[in-house]
Symmetry: C2
Subunit: 266 residues, 2 copies
């Protein structure tokens, strides 16, 4: 069993665990926590793919046992809408609202364009081997999760750890699992939170960027191979920032879009 499958397995009674070494400086990665909750939600829904899931983060997720209670809100013909709460004891860590379906049978017209008529497509990235691995120790911060992932940043975006910020709130790179597990629709929830924050490339106080809310739209099942992603923040204001992500598969197909609302480091 792959590391990711082990770390997102939840028993039929909803008991599971935040596994160690999926963290950044001690707190489990938000995308991993969402995947862990969604793993239970899709089991209860009986539908294989998260289509749209939203998490609100309530407390940091330290490694250890958790209880995930999933409730079916509506089971429809094509989709099932679920709510889930991840708790440790009486303390809620995460609340998720999500709709699940089967993305094997999707169909419809395709139109992929930006408003300025430019083709909307994957980010321009050098080959994976020419990108910069995100390591488990980066810029003074311990990121044990990076032992499990093969995340490689676009060279122009990777200088921040050494103090060379690009000046643009953008972070692009490749994602694969270190153990070769395929990137499926559950893993896309992790992918959308696996790169360093895009605002690390602009002039803001460095530090923890706590996510309040994180939504992922899964648009298709990824074709085999690593995925390419790009994350951008446009507005840092009033103490908040958004980060928008796109994930593209090896067939140049958009497989996920994400957005999160986070607090600006103080």
């Amino acid at each position: 069993m792959s590391e990711f499958d082990t770390a997102t397995a939840v028993a039929a009674d909803g008991s599971g665990a935040i596994h160690p070494r999926w963290d950044i400086g001690g707190n489990a990665n938000g995308g991993y926590l969402l995947a862990l909750a969604a793993s239970r939600m899709r089991d209860v829904a009986g539908r294989p793919d998260p289509v749209t899931v939203t998490a609100h983060y309530l407390a940091p997720g330290l490694a250890g046992p958790v209880q995930i209670d999933a409730e079916t809100i509506k089971a429809g013909k094509r989709f099932t809408t679920m709510s889930a709460t991840m708790r440790r004891g009486d303390r809620p860590l995460l609340r998720v609202l999500g709709t699940f379906g089967d993305l094997a049978d999707v169909a419809g017209p395709d139109h992929v364009a930006r408003a300025d008529h430019v083709t909307f497509g994957p980010p321009e990235l050098p080959a994976m081997a020419e990108c910069i691995p995100r390591t488990p120790y980066q810029g003074g911060l311990e990121v044990p999760m990076m032992e499990r992932l093969d995340v490689r940043l676009r060279p122009a975006d990777a200088g921040f750890a050494g103090g060379l910020r690009s000046g643009v709130a953008e972070m692009a790179g490749w994602f694969a699992f270190a153990d070769g597990r395929p990137v499926d629709t559950l893993a896309l929830l992790l992918v959308c939170d696996a790169l360093p924050p895009a605002v690390f490339n602009i002039d803001l106080p460095a530090g923890w960027v706590p996510t309040m809310e994180f939504t992922v739209h899964v648009r298709a099942r990824p074709a085999p191979g690593p995925v390419r992603c790009v994350f951008r923040s446009r507005a840092v204001s009033g103490g908040f920032l958004e980060e928008d992500g796109e994930v593209w598969d090896s067939a140049d197909r958009l497989v996920a879009m994400s957005r999160q609302l986070a607090l600006v480091p103080r």
Copy 2:
């Protein structure tokens, strides 16, 4: 009392109503439904501003009585996270997950830019008087909600109703209430769903674009006056489309960002 305040009033026991004539072809507008639920949620939270709210739409909202049950998930120092279900009888119509706070006391560094270094700012719009009112009867579709709103579209985006699509999945315009009620943070939830779908300007089958999921980030309390908004869809694929919105106030400040996942008309 303004029309919007009347239509979003909910009693202390959670009983309320989907008011008539906030609909499009019989189904209440999704932004109005979200505002109605959020009105109850902020009352229970005791915090005045929705900061991030996500709705999943479960059934069409016809006018008539509803019950809105709001549950506090976590009341923290700055924010309160809430869940709410809007039902008619046993049938859930809407499920909402949201975090509420007080946007009067926001502070922090500002950085507003696009990834290409271009300033990220309000859409370029002619003066409100030179834009095209969205009328209660448009292109064969009855939109009674437009009796209550003063929505004026950018002329280049407004031809779709007469069959002249711009070819770009973008829709921009002004928003105000017809009765002059100020646009506050609750109203922004409506604003983010008050323009025609951006995809009406590209070559897709015309028709109902059912929203599955709708998230609004409220970034600031709007300054007095009408707001300017722009909505864009980039990827129509696999039967789904996203629509991203921005709302800017009279002081050129970003006051809301929205995203929805909708089904492509068939």
